[in-house]
Amino acid sequence: MSDLIEGFLGKSVEGKKSRLPAKLDFVQSATGLFLGLFMWGHMFFVSTILISKDAMYAVAKFFEGSAFLNEPRPILVSGVVFFVFIVFIVHAAMGMRKLPTSFRQWQVYRTHMKMMKHEDTTLWFIQAVTGFAMFFLGSAHLFLMLTQPGTIDPYGSGDRMLLLWPFYILLLLSVEFHGGIGLYRLCVKWGWFEGSDAKVTRKNLKKVKWAITVFFLALGFLTMAAYFKIGLDHRDNAGERYHPSAMVITHMNVGVKS
């Protein structure tokens, strides 16, 4: 009954405001932080393809539990993806509350942005647009990884890049802009690293933010190019799994003996 009354009046029977908006704000930031940092780690893992196919293969198998199990199990990757997907969905649900939802809100924000030419106001708009795009792009990517974890290896990912490169370009741009701006916003929102002079800190944070965005975009595009080239070279055998060079040599030895 008291839930009904609270819902009806917007305050509890004791006349108190709900604590939920505070929690939602916190959850938005916590999930954003997790996703932002996860994307950094993610980029470092996928970019091991720039070192060698074997390096990327080793990383892929590591996440399938190669360090502890005799047989790598792709389902473990599905498990990680599932967890990230949940965080992603929660974050998207929180983010939704902030997006413009009527024509007037959209119109007034666009006009304001054009008049003010204020960097952080414009960056928020970029964050909102890229966030919206990721409803679809992020979900599609996560769904692929959730259902086909076993295809993650130099060849499988190369085949995928050859097929889906326009999709991945959009996803890369969305993630890097959204995440970069988001992490910067987290710092100013909660006053992290504020120090004695918040204004100076903010200038520096902005510089770091841009540096990080440029770095990850560069690394991301190089990585995509590497997968694309593998996919291209491997086009005639698309669908085939990768075998690390060490393993291929063993097979050959076996072949010679028998």
């Binding site: 405001k17 505070a22 809100q105 924000y109 008049m115 106001t121 928020w124 100013v188 006053g191």
Partner: protein, 239 residues
């Protein structure tokens, strides 16, 4: 060396059935040290007696003269025309407030409502005896509190805020700064829970999207970013 400057202003009277919003262009000679206040006064005296705009102090103290100058909210009395290289100033009234006419908006009633909403007065159970000396406060605390009291309620932070424009009930930086002011003041006995009741929702502290145009445009350079983050940390911790 004097030059001719161009001032374009939105003219519109929302209370008149026949008034249509339109831009009017005025050309005038720039004088030494000319502020936008001086320019507008000259326009009203010599070119257009019907142009409405607000001023009181002409010195950046009263907070009545905020308007959008080339897209940014500024105090007209503190805006020097010589800083505009091409000599063109395009004026709009501040958004977010009720338009009275042309460049004149009603910040007063809005600020009044805001003050009531955040209960902008000292809440204390102590009986004040004015015949006795006040209890002393740490000078540093007093300084920090009075620093936030420098707000002149010009409304520039409100007009600069994209969040506020999208969500008209948002309290704005001026309101959050006011809450921080009383939160820090040892005279005020309110707890963080009490402040949560005032601004602990999406129209208050948790609605702020950290666009920070308030911080970047406040003519008094109040530490708005700093204080909003501070209140957010305090209120998110309330059980």
């Amino acid at each position: 060396m004097s030059r001719t400057i161009t001032i374009k202003a939105l003219k519109y009277n929302p209370n008149s059935k026949v008034s249509k919003p339109h831009m009017v262009e005025y050309k005038l000679e720039e004088t030494d040290g000319m502020t936008l206040f001086i320019a507008l006064t000259k326009i009203r005296e010599e070119l257009d007696a019907d142009l409405s705009f607000d001023f009181v102090c002409r010195a950046g103290i009263c907070g009545s003269c905020g308007m959008m100058v080339n897209g940014k909210p500024q105090l007209a009395c503190r805006t020097l025309t010589k800083n505009f290289e091409d000599g063109i100033l395009e004026l709009f009234p501040m958004p977010a407030f009720k338009l009275i006419k042309d460049l004149s908006v009603d910040t007063g009633n809005w600020m009044n409502d805001m003050s009531k909403r955040v209960e902008s007065w000292i809440h204390t159970t102590e009986k004040v005896d004015i015949s006795k000396l006040e209890a002393p406060i740490e000078p540093i605390v007093a300084e920090e509190t009075f620093e936030l009291d420098r707000c002149i309620e010009c409304g520039i932070c409100v007009a600069a805020c994209g969040t506020k424009l999208m969500r008209p009930n948002f309290i704005g930086a001026v309101g959050l700064n006011r809450v921080a002011r009383f939160q820090m003041d040892p005279h005020d006995n309110r707890t963080d829970e009490d402040f949560f009741e005032l601004v602990g929702d999406d129209d208050g502290i948790f609605g702020c999207m950290s666009l920070l145009a308030c911080e970047d445009n406040c003519p008094k350079h109040l530490p708005l970013q700093n204080k909003i983050a501070y209140m957010r940390r305090k209120l998110v911790a309330v059980r």
